[in-house]
């Protein structure tokens, strides 16, 4: 067990190293992208500010609380762009071109390899920006946070990352059968966009549909602003475990039915 952990830690370091070397090839790309994500963050803050000119709250959340939520959203978005988006699109490529064969004949867990081989490191700037926004919200609204709340926040944030991963993975696995599913990631992206606002905004059937997405941002933020119910934590944890297990199962199932592209 310990050996396996060491092996995968070493492999992960190697992936990071190659990604840094690869990134060096395109420096201008790096600078323009960081600038771009800063701009987008500022824009989303502005949108919220505009809204609050006319209303005192969104779904019972004050301006500062929404800022925290937006920060969580931004950080999660950063995680998606850091490792989900780049790897999943490549998985589709691997399947279409048959280069998945190379990965499958290597003595590594293929799901691990396909999930972490490509990392877009500068996207961690978005994650940092998101957390900075959380910090700003807490400071601006002078919201007190206990150690226990911090703990819940970290726990729920990691759970959200896990759920996102499982969801995205499950979706991309359709490409084993449908082969070309690039568009699904746009669908996923627009669904995730709905998590910009607190869950309490949504009602009825819309709530049911968007519920999984909305709780990804609402619950971690709620932990900090004291709006969290204890059952929420259980829902999140249960959801994460269940979805990770199903994603793993689906991966193995897909591999058994993999037909490989012709050469």
């Amino acid at each position: 067990m310990w050996r396996a952990v060491k092996k995968y830690a070493r492999l992960f370091r190697e992936f990071i190293r190659t990604c840094i070397v690869e990134e060096m090839e395109y420096r201008a790309h790096f600078v323009s992208n960081v600038f771009m994500s800063m701009l987008l963050l500022a824009l989303s803050v502005l949108t919220v500010q505009l809204y609050f000119y006319r209303a005192p709250s969104i779904g019972n959340w004050t301006f500062d609380q929404v800022m925290i939520l937006l920060g969580v959203f931004q950080a999660l978005q950063g995680c998606i762009d850091f490792y989900l988006q780049p790897n999943m699109n490549r998985l589709v490529q691997h399947i279409r071109k048959g280069t998945l064969d190379y990965i499958l004949t290597k003595p590594v867990d293929s799901m691990f390899f396909c999930s972490f081989r490509h990392l877009v490191l500068w996207r961690l700037v978005d994650v940092a920006g998101g957390f900075a926004l959380v910090g700003y919200g807490l400071w601006h609204g002078s919201i007190p946070v206990t150690v226990w709340q911090w703990f819940l926040f970290v726990l729920l944030f990691l759970t959200a990352v896990a759920i996102l991963y499982a969801l995205w993975m499950a979706m991309m696995m359709f490409s084993f059968w449908a082969v070309k599913v690039d568009n699904l990631s746009y669908l996923f992206q627009s669904l995730f966009e709905t998590a910009r606002v607190p869950m309490s905004v949504y009602r009825g059937i819309v709530l049911v549909v968007l519920m999984p997405m909305a709780c990804l941002t609402t619950f971690p933020a709620a932990a900090l602003v004291n709006k969290l119910h204890s059952q929420d934590v259980l829902i999140m944890l249960g959801l994460a475990v269940g979805m990770l297990v199903s994603a793993r199962w689906l991966w193995n199932y897909a591999l058994r039915h993999y037909t490989s592209a012709s050469s």
Binding site: K7, R10, L11, R13, E14, F15, R17, T18, V21, E22, E25, K97, G98, T99, D101, Y102, L104, T105, K106, P107, V108, L255, R256, Y258, T259, S260, S262, S263
Partner: protein
């Protein structure tokens, strides 16, 4: 090393006719049919052997290769490779094999090949000493000194292929699968790659399985060949025997001296010589097919009776032999022709 018994692999492929209407129809109502890509193949391969797979496109070569590497689950049959069941995909098994596909690259495109080597070192958990030794050995053998530190995108196809080979052999696999390793390379590079494969086989006693479109690859490297067509194993044995079995005749080409009368196919003097068949007549060049036994006799007559300027005696090319073998064998097998449609499927390689 490899033990295969009654191996079969059936695919469901989706069929549709060409045209927009058919495309729309197939969106709603997909029709599938079974393709028996591999249909009851049995063979054994010993350690250290170099075996060539031959067969036309869509014959089942690649499918067999993918079954052996564990990429595909067999529909039925027994399959053991180095004591392992490939499709269980245990890491132990994968550490002992390597797959190289001439048409697909695994090198990191924007980086020098040496970076890919590093990734492979982590994947295969190669310790520093044996990594350095093996890498230097391969670089030497393939003469990659000037190449491994250039970004892969700047390499020629041949250089890239050599790097692919080096990257896949860093962990010293006991069993190497080469799927068309020389495709697209110029003659010089093909020869270099061939020599390397030969040297690698001798130095590391590795078992090597090879498919290729270039018959020269197979005839230069492998003593043993397997001919596969439509999922059936048609021949398994020595190349030399394959030739004498399916091509008992040699080719005799005659070049007549300028000024001599043009030859006619049926009334040439050879029509009375017995075991001789005319292949083609083109102006002053005549190609004859002569059985091996009759050859020396025929050559004597040619030299004494005909005004020739030059002549050559050749074995028919392996391509011709294989082609002939297929015609012979497939016509016998017409009854269990499994592609339910028409033969259009020969175009895609499984």
């Amino acid at each position: 090393m490899i033990d295969v018994k009654d191996l079969t692999k059936h695919y469901k492929v989706h069929v549709r006719e060409s045209g927009l209407r058919a495309a729309l129809k197939s969106l709603v109502n997909r029709k599938f049919r079974d393709v028996r890509a591999v249909d009851g193949i049995s063979f054994q391969i010993a350690e250290g052997e170099m075996v060539g797979f031959l067969g036309p496109n869509g014959a089942g070569k690649t499918t067999t290769m993918k079954l052996l590497t564990g990429l595909l689950h067999p529909t039925s049959g027994e399959l053991r490779v180095g004591g392992f069941v490939p499709f269980k995909q245990s890491n132990e098994f994968k550490r002992n094999i390597s797959l190289v596909m001439g048409q697909k690259s695994q090198l990191i495109w924007d980086l020098p090949a040496s970076e890919t080597f590093e990734v492979h070192r982590a994947i295969y958990e190669i310790d520093d000493r044996s990594f350095k030794k093996q890498r230097d050995g391969l670089v030497e053998l393939l003469q990659l000194q000037a190449v491994i530190d250039k970004p892969v995108r700047q390499l020629s196809l041949g250089e890239r292929m050599k790097c692919e080979l080096a990257a896949s052999l860093l962990h010293q696999p006991k069993l190497v699968f080469l799927d068309e390793p020389t495709i697209g390379l110029d003659v010089h590079m093909q020869e270099a790659v061939r020599q390397f494969i030969q040297a690698y086989n001798q130095e590391f006693k590795a078992t090597i399985l090879l498919t290729s479109h270039y018959m020269t690859d197979v005839s230069a490297l492998c003593e043993r060949v397997m001919v596969i067509n439509r999922g059936h194993l048609l021949y398994d044995g020595k190349i030399s025997e394959l030739i004498s079995r399916f091509a008992p005749n040699k080719r005799l080409t005659l070049q007549f001296a300028p000024g001599s009368a043009e030859m006619q196919a049926d009334d040439g003097p050879w029509s009375t010589w017995g075991d001789v068949r005319v292949v083609r007549v083109e102006g002053l060049v005549v190609e004859l097919e002569v059985s091996r036994e009759a050859m020396s006799d025929v050559v004597q007559r040619v030299l004494s009776q005909l005004p020739i300027q030059d002549f050559t005696v050749e074995d028919p090319s392996l391509e011709d032999v294989i082609g002939q073998a297929f015609n012979v064998e497939t016509s016998k097998r017409e009854d269990d022709f499994h592609f339910n449609g028409h033969g259009a499927d020969d175009g895609d390689d499984w």
